[in-house]
């Protein structure tokens, strides 16, 4: 019995140790962002701020320099919002309709096409980077937010289609057959049978796409122009900006600001976040 109790204490000890490991960077980011530079230089990384200051947050938001532009993260934060919201909505709507077809309206060759889409989820984006840069130039979308929306919709389609297809495939086909007999068409059936039960999978798809698009860096850095960079690119520019004194507290405040939207989504809707992650990896 006593050895068992000791074992359980050990178990909790290890679990708490790991919790500290995962929390430490967040703790360090937060405390650093609330310290003055003076205190950062003289104090310890892991100590609480002696005097709390919000000045680094204000600077990160509105005056820090990303490259040559010294307006803080604010304009880039809105760029990310303007990019993510339409891209998430469009890719989710198209994914829902695609998934509906693949699950309930199969035709010859549909399986092959589905496999082709699935395959597309796994390509390293490096392999489409060069032609996409050319293509965006041809379309007149190079360096613009609509261009980024376009890219995110195209390469998000695979996953959204997969989510909806795997969700709708569990709905008995008799239901669709019966509705067809009653004279309902493709969109009517989608609208009045499938859409009303889709809230969970819409949530999964929206959260997955939002996290992917908000956190994206590769497309952002490759395809954005001077005024259209998303927040991740701006954060990297602020951190690596070489002008003036290295303001670690501002860097950390900027990092937290860039992370806030997805963290918030995780805290509010963690269950769906996990479902998206696992649905994205364990299919079927």
């Amino acid at each position: 019995m006593t050895s068992n109790t000791a074992l359980r204490w050990g178990l909790y000890g290890i679990l708490i140790l790991f919790a500290l490991f995962y929390l430490m960077p967040l703790f360090v980011m937060l405390t650093t962002s609330l310290k003055s530079l003076e205190e950062i230089r003289t104090g310890s990384l892991l100590s609480l701020p002696r005097e709390i200051t919000f000045a680094p947050w204000a600077e990160a938001w509105s005056t820090a320099c990303a490259g040559t532009q010294c307006e803080g993260l604010r304009p880039f934060f809105w760029n990310s919002v303007l990019m993510a919201v339409p891209a998430v909505m469009i890719s989710t709507i198209i994914g829902a309709l695609n998934g509906y077809v693949f699950a309930q309206w199969k035709f010859r060759g549909a399986n092959l096409f589905f496999a082709a889409i699935l395959f597309g989820c796994f390509i390293p984006f490096q392999v489409v980077l060069l032609p996409m840069a050319q293509m965006l130039g041809l379309m007149g979308l190079a360096g613009t937010i609509p261009g980024l929306i376009f890219v995110h919709v195209i390469y998000g389609l695979g996953f959204t289609t997969l989510f909806f297809r795997n969700y709708y495939v569990t709905i008995p086909q008799e239901l669709v057959r019966a509705a067809k007999v009653d004279g309902a068409g493709f969109f009517r059936i989608f609208w009045s049978i499938f859409l009303p039960i889709s809230l969970p999978i819409i949530t999964v798809s929206v959260i997955w796409q939002f996290t992917q698009i908000w956190n994206d860096f590769l497309f952002g850095v490759s395809f954005s122009g001077a005024g259209s960079q998303p927040v991740t690119v701006a954060l990297n520019n602020i951190v690596n900006s070489t002008t003036g004194v290295k303001a670690y507290n501002v860097d950390m405040a900027a990092a937290i600001i860039a992370a806030l939207p997805t963290l918030l989504v995780y805290v509010v809707a963690g269950k769906y976040f996990i479902r998206g992650l696992t649905a994205g990896s364990v299919k079927g």
Binding site: F273, L277, V282
Partner: protein, 290 residues
Amino acid sequence: MEWLERNVPKVVLAPSFVAILVFVYGFIAWTAWISFTRSRLMPRYELDGITQYERLFAAPRWDVAMNNLFIFGGLFIVISMVIGLALAIFLDQKIRAEGVLRTIYLYPMALSLIVTGTAWKWILNPGLGIQAAVRGWGWESFTFDWLIRPDMAIYTIVLAAVWQASGFVMALFLAGLRSVDTEIIRAAQVDGIPTHRIYSAIIIPTMAPIFLSAFIVLAHLAIKAFDLVIALTGGGPGYATDLPATYMYAMAFSRGDLGQAASSAMIMMMVIFAIVVPYLYSELRPRRDQ
């Protein structure tokens, strides 16, 4: 009109079909073609054999990048799996506050790799970060300066990537553990089989598909790990922490060497496909296709 009605499903899929065909497969073909030309700053279309691949494999920087990929990928995958599995098994022991712990383990997965890289760059900063903090506690000779050492910097990438992804592996394994038939476990317990034997002989073998999924996801993350390197080390010191992804990016956007960019991207894709194709094949084959 009637034709349209019968073919609505196909019409709905058509735009995606065209998009995937052009922007995935067409673009892969374009990149493949460019990788066999002498393209430098601008694309050129006259074929030139495999000179780009010869240049690639002769480049010391590419050599470093591929080596790093194997070091980073191997360690990242193995360590994430070990930590993920261990945490999942520990959490499965009727732990109080399991929900809280799970939330804490998994939250890094919600962050951008740029944020992760920024945070760890600060923590690993030898002058003011963890090294300075431990020295401040009185351990004067404590040294943890991997970030600035060319031979060790790649391991900081491993550390940050494991921090980000191991909680996710935990979630995958925990879901797997929970889906094992409880009847079998109870029967084994009744027979007096010790817990560690129940895990090693009964539960873990049934989770083979989850190991495979976790491996695929992690391998995929490893090959694409571009953001983290950019934010944490910038590929440095020198090009000591270059990965194929950063090599490709440097060739494409700062060196103006499209041929090298295209050929390195093709190699990346082949590495991914070597891992993913057998997996996709096994996933798609046993589907109940009426």
